[in-house]
Symmetry: C2
Subunit: 209 residues, 2 copies
């Protein structure tokens, strides 16, 4: 890739993918950038700009071939294969995420889960539950590259370091603390508090309060 791709662009690629899926389900084979824009709620010029990071897409005066563009975006995002994902921490949030339909829809498979206390914990079909002490061993053996952390915030950093040592390259962290690791591991800290704050910012601009 020649340029650094902004994170917002990557987020929008994910959105385009979702819209293209919808179009495909409706049996639509070709879509103009203005129609795709309308569906995604994104300016058509923005769509063209986002896609331009990755090459030339679409045909002038015709639009985009839905199936083709979908395949291209999936390749760009590394989604042409299914990723196995490990989840660490089976509290309420971890349990909820294991059952979250959105992950499967996106081609992820939460195949292993870990907790320090297995009593009363259960996981959906297709997922295997292990004690936390087996984490590094299982992850290394299965070659899992992505993990979701939903442990208590006081444990998050330690868990992340162990995961990295076992070969994990990408971590989605839901613990309300910032994890720091060497650059070779990609970390996304999902802070729900931040999501609410962004909401209040826009409400404040609008003078709701």
């Amino acid at each position: 890739m020649r340029f650094k791709v902004p994170e917002v662009t990557v987020g929008r690629l994910s959105l385009y993918l979702r819209c293209l899926n919808e179009l495909e389900e409706e049996g639509i084979e070709v879509v103009s950038s203005s129609e795709l824009g309308r569906r995604c709620g994104v300016n058509p010029a923005q769509i063209r700009k986002d896609l331009a990071y990755f090459g030339e897409f679409g045909t002038r005066g015709v639009g985009y071939y839905v199936k083709e563009l979908k395949g291209d975006i999936k390749r760009v995002m590394g989604l042409h294969k299914t990723w196995e994902v490990a989840l660490v921490g089976l509290g309420n949030l971890g349990t909820a995420l294991l059952r979250y339909k959105g992950f499967q829809q996106h081609g992820f498979r939460l195949s292993v889960a870990f907790d320090v206390d297995l009593k009363g914990k259960n996981v959906p079909e297709g997922c295997k539950l292990y004690h936390a002490s087996e984490m590094e061993h299982v992850i290394r053996e299965k070659g899992i590259k992505i993990a979701i952390i939903t442990v208590h915030h006081s444990q998050a950093q330690e868990v992340a370091e162990k995961l990295a040592k076992a070969g994990v390259k990408g971590i989605l962290n839901f613990a309300p603390t910032r994890i720091r690791l060497p650059n070779k591991v990609v970390i996304r800290n999902v802070d729900m508090g931040t999501e609410l704050e962004i909401l209040t910012f826009y409400l404040s601009i609008k003078g709701t309060r």
Copy 2:
């Protein structure tokens, strides 16, 4: 506000706030933009650019007064007061979010929760549980402006419309479906699948797979 503020800037404001909180807890009164940058993992020039949307902050050659900047950002984000928040849908995810420490840390109070089935549901202290049929009435009476939706995706749009009618101005939607409402309501769709996709994008660039 004179300019449209990019959403990434708003997200970073939230991050700056968190770093300023840390500094305050450590008893640090003044911070340079380079030190603040190091802590937040953001380029100092970017920090200055982000803050410039809202006015002039900091003193040349000195830096930022921690307490002052914190107060300013809170005001900009509408966080100088506590917001009451309603949660709709007490499945695993809803239950997890009710107990999520991050919201309180950010000055939000999840004070009411609704579900169609109250059997076996319980909520933490300070939160009151109601049947979904009382939702519009309770929200209107309490003047609640923010709601979190964690219902099944087939119900999300309908719930959102009811909330908007009852006076809610901002919605955080965790159901894996896009909610559409008139512009006067601000909606943030939190799609955990997207979060994982952004991760795989960066892993793919790095050649992890």
